[in-house]
Symmetry: C2
Subunit: 372 residues, 2 copies
């Protein structure tokens, strides 16, 4: 594989778009965007941390391709994903007098992508949107599928729209500046795609994960496989009325643990919650005699190898008791009309949507696995 970009197409009819993955894409974003959206102007939405590394290169590239741009800067961090910041981005886009055919460019991680995408989806009832994810998590997850949104006091991502990008530019070089813990957390979502329905990819990761962490072609390959896996599921179910729920593997337990630790990133970041959640989903499936305990052990071994947490005991500090954790699960938005829905599995790469999982089974399982 060359160092050049690989392309994954997300097939959504008239809303189809390309994801370009590879090094150096920020520096040639202008030509890639101008080729697909000629004659536009743009608003770049970013945060201060990312902008310090990449905003100059992006602005220059746009300028070289004749794309006039303005930039809208936000504080870094999950707290930014709120109504006030949304209003600030919307005002910035309108103040620049951008029209529906112009573009909003998200340069940053998942927070920036979700927020900028939401703004692009509502200004003039939908503007062109270009994603330039700079974290591994954003490259393999939030940049594919068109979900945008913000958090409210009632929960995370409860407010937003489906708004597909016109183009995603995933510059793998941007990942070199990520802190190791953040890269590792993003890797949990990479492994997730293998566990959902690509057993060969999971086996490939077991062998090649070190090269994925080190960078180079294996990293590009892992990101491309992940985007392609997600794109396949999204193409089947763009508006999340069915199959798309598979992408929540590990997320029901994971979200509950994030909530239970007060979204304190020092204790648990999203990808770590997903890692623990995936391990628990496999162990819970084994306990329900749906999968083998060997498969659960295999997942735990791989998470251990890459340095990700996989037990509730791996979270520093005290956790609420099992009853309270169940309460957090029941509050999760994946709960439909009071029934508990989980993504369970018959083994590595064989996950499925289980509706009406009895709360009593979940509670017993949480009690058995609770560190307290």
């Amino acid at each position: 594989m060359s160092a050049d970009a690989v392309t994954v197409e997300v097939g959504l009819g008239t809303r189809s778009y390309d994801i370009l993955i590879g090094p150096g894409l920020i520096g040639r974003a202008g030509e890639e965007i101008a080729r697909r959206l000629p004659g536009i102007r743009a608003a770049i939405v970013s945060d201060e941390n990312v902008a310090a590394h990449h905003l100059g290169a992006l602005s220059e590239s746009l300028s070289r391709s004749g794309i006039e741009s303005t930039s809208i800067m936000l504080p870094a961090g999950e707290k930014t994903k709120n109504f006030d910041a949304l209003q600030q981005v919307v005002d910035g886009i309108l103040a620049a007098r951008l029209e529906r055919g112009d573009a909003v460019i998200a340069l940053g991680g998942g927070v920036i992508g979700d927020l900028a995408g939401f703004a692009a989806g509502i200004v003039r009832r939908g503007m062109n949107f270009v994603q330039m994810p700079t974290s591994l998590l954003a490259q393999v997850d939030s940049s594919v599928g068109g979900k945008t949104g913000i958090n409210t006091a009632h929960g995370k991502n409860l407010v937003g729209v489906f708004h597909q990008p016109r183009l995603v530019l995933a510059d793998t070089g941007a990942l070199d500046t990520l802190p190791a813990r953040e890269f590792r957390a993003g890797y949990a979502e990479v492994a997730k795609y293998g566990l959902i329905d690509r057993p060969d990819f999971f086996a490939w990761l077991e062998k090649n994960w070190q090269e994925v962490f080190d960078g180079g072609p294996a990293r590009t390959e892992a990101i491309a496989q992940s985007c392609s896996a997600k794109a396949e599921v999204v193409a089947r179910d763009e508006f999340e009325t069915g199959d798309r729920a598979l992408l929540n593997l590990g997320h029901t337990f994971g979200h509950a643990l994030e909530a239970a630790t007060g979204y304190d990133g020092a204790r648990l970041v999203h990808g770590e919650g997903v890692a623990i959640g995936m391990a628990l989903a496999h162990r819970f499936s084994a306990r329900l005699n749906l999968a083998s305990h060997d498969d659960a052990a295999r997942v735990e071994a791989h998470l251990t190898a890459v340095g990700l947490p996989w037990r509730m005991a791996d979270i520093p500090g005290p956790l609420p008791d099992a009853e309270r954790l169940l309460g957090y699960i029941a509050q999760d938005k994946k709960v439909s009309r009071g029934a508990l829905t989980f993504i369970l599995t018959h083994g590595v790469g064989q996950s499925f949507i289980a509706r009406d999982v009895p709360a009593s089974e979940v509670l017993s399982f949480l009690r058995e696995n609770h560190p307290g």
Copy 2:
């Protein structure tokens, strides 16, 4: 025609829905909603004025059909269509713990419909939405087509989403409590559908307008014709990339006049701006030798007959000069990439989209017709 409801279907593939039009629909909303959306809960969004007349009847009807509901009250008036009110509605829906399959019901005029529809479009990335328009303008315009939105300091309706309702219940009885001026302003949009592409409907209105104002079957018929006319245009162009612009007949001049009078409803309400705008569009078309002066005179005569304003001189108080009015037109969102787009006409019922209308022609026309 009986006093029972007539049904207009809006054909939008999987997003198709029915508009029921007739007296007494608020009192039997529960059964109509429960039949289409069984097992749901609901949040009613309304304003204090409308609620005083109709909220009790609606809540009771829902309750009789087993639909548990909560209500979210807003101050009446256009000023309510802002980010703060949107956030308040969103919070109210989330606080009631409604899920994606539950419904937001808008009970009120265009402001409530646009705001509640926007909230329904973004909570959980899209909930079920039911429109119960209580003004003539809302029944014939904003309840058809799925446009939702709010105003910002940069202009009206610049932020929103396309979100189609699942059902529209237009209770013609609710119009009996409207002030005469508001009913008349809404009538401007009724006449508009005749002028766009239904010359027979316009001729029918010339003969029957008094009965439409008096209520009864002619009113129901006029509303049904209007909804059906709009539905036909929307079905051709759901996301306003082409033909849908026809619905802006009278709106480019009208919006400019609304802006020029500072959106002061004491001087000019939206429908009155549209009435003047439609008359100007016909007179401007005649000046450009596209239509006959007789057709322009016919439009002016009908607006005079029903008591609607049709000249700039009919607006009380001073207006900005022609140059400034042109500035307001150029700011209007219908301006695409600097070119002036107008809906012009070849005569009654023969309107069309004219792109690249020279600003100099518009300016001369405004000067000739300026009362100052």
